[in-house]
């Protein structure tokens, strides 16, 4: 990926545990978004956090953004087997460009 790196690349946890995924990026951004992708399927938008926000919640998801460190984290609490998927962060850079630049993704496996 030209923009973001995600850490870890793969994560395996037990159902009920929390999962934390991290993302780093390189340029100034307008916002950062997290997407989920089940194997070989479409990308599902999870949550968007703007550059002037530090934390955002949506259900079992909690996203933080540290623009000074150019990093973000996604926390999934009380994980379920159905959360098994790849999770990507994507940044919308400052300026007029509208495209998203994706990180390399974290493969999360939640074991029942």
């Amino acid at each position: 990926s030209q923009q973001g790196e995600e850490d870890p690349q793969a994560l395996s946890i037990q159902e009920g545990e929390n999962a934390t995924m991290n993302c780093s990026y390189k340029t100034s951004i307008n916002n950062l978004q997290w997407y989920r992708q089940n194997s070989g399927r479409g990308l599902v938008h999870l949550i968007l956090i703007r550059s002037n926000e530090r934390e955002k919640h949506s259900g079992r998801l909690r996203v933080t953004l540290d623009t000074s460190k150019k990093s973000s984290s996604l926390l999934i609490t009380a994980s379920r087997a159905a959360d098994t998927a790849s999770y990507f962060c994507a940044t919308h850079s400052s300026g007029s460009a509208r495209q998203l630049t994706f990180g390399s993704g974290t493969q999360l496996t939640v074991l029942p």
């Binding site: 307008n30 479409g42 938008h45 919308h92 998203l100």
Partner: protein, 111 residues
């Protein structure tokens, strides 16, 4: 709620053939994006259109072209296909520069 529609969902072509992928954005969305995702890779931006005009261009090969029509649907035309073009091709649409909603993708296999 209506989602982004892509067709076909699967496509198999021979090397050097041509392929056309179609995308129907969410109604009233003004921007369409195309992304390519190779096996085990993250999605890479190809091209976007805002109000039927090309707005941004990413890593789109010269063999590929795209356009957005008066009804806002978009087509990605791919010529002289190569084995390396085998990938998932996603279309996304948005009303603002913020949240992009992705279609289910077209899986292109080049033999």
């Amino acid at each position: 709620a209506a989602g982004v529609i892509q067709s076909p969902r699967h496509l198999i072509k021979e090397k050097r053939e041509t392929a056309t992928l179609k995308c129907y954005p969410i109604p009233r969305h003004d921007t369409v994006y195309w992304y390519q995702q190779g096996p085990g890779q993250d999605p890479q931006f190809l091209i976007s259109f805002y109000e039927k005009m090309q707005s941004d261009k990413g890593s789109i090969p010269d063999r590929f072209s795209a356009q957005q029509f008066s009804d806002y649907h978009s087509e990605l035309n791919m010529s002289s296909l190569e084995l390396g073009d085998s990938a998932l091709y996603f279309c996304a649409s948005s009303l603002s520069p913020d949240t992009q909603y992705f279609g289910p993708g077209t899986r292109l296999t080049v033999l």
